[in-house]
Symmetry: C2
Subunit: 110 residues, 2 copies
DNA sequence: GAAAGATATAAGTCACAACTTATACGATTG
DNA sequence: CAATCGTATAAGTTGTGACTTATATCTTTC
């Protein structure tokens, strides 16, 4: 499943927003999502699976609980894709800072 | 249709990549996409409609032809959403440049 | 002005993703 | 060790979005 497909679902986007605040157990995520979207526990669990499989989230076991965290890698890919359009609104001075960043990255490589 | 759903389709992403280079007629887009994805002209036209309806593309008439351009607005929204995760990979000096941009924007408002 | 060109819409088909309920399964607790 | 908790998987249903072919609607050209 492509990164953009993963982000296409509002529930998954919301889960990522929650994880952006820090590590959360499956059950805690389920609580919030059920309140906001009225879907079943398995539905949430399936979304978590998609997030795992697509690399957006990592899990670790803590007893019976599963603790989820964001994995930045695919988000960074998405950011890179969108970045190619940044010039369309990033005129003037903002573009300068962007160039600074880009230039710095290039220099790192060499 | 939500912005991320629009970007979920590889054909639409490719069309936006093409439009990023500049204005293109429907027919020119069809040519490229057909070569790369082997889908019919109406299929491409329907994707163009989605891009129009969701605000990612603008059209103007030129005789019988329709000339398409990128509209940055929804892409900027997407960028803003992804931006909230930028801290996850944007450590160190890169973050500085980002902060410069953010700071500048705030100052513009006030 | 009829034919051909450029593009869009209509209508129908089909695969798939997002649910549901039911259940499995390891960890915890009394 | 039986009951309960926390979470995941299985299996089935269903709505929808991405196609297809056929056709409509303007433009241009001869």
């Amino acid at each position: 499943m492509h990164a953009f497909d993963v982000l296409g679902d509002p529930v998954r986007r919301r889960i990522l927003e929650l994880l952006a605040e820090g590590e959360l157990a499956s059950g805690e995520i389920v609580d919030v999502i059920q309140r906001e979207f009225c879907i079943s526990q398995p539905a949430v669990s399936q979304h978590l699976r998609v997030l795992r499989d697509s690399g957006f989230a990592n899990v670790r076991a803590d007893g019976a609980r599963r603790l989820y965290t964001v994995d930045a890698a695919p988000l960074q890919e998405v950011d890179a894709w969108v970045g190619r359009f940044r010039g369309f609104w990033d005129h003037k001075l903002d573009a300068l800072a962007t160039e600074i960043v880009r230039g710095k990255r290039k220099r790192k490589k060499s």
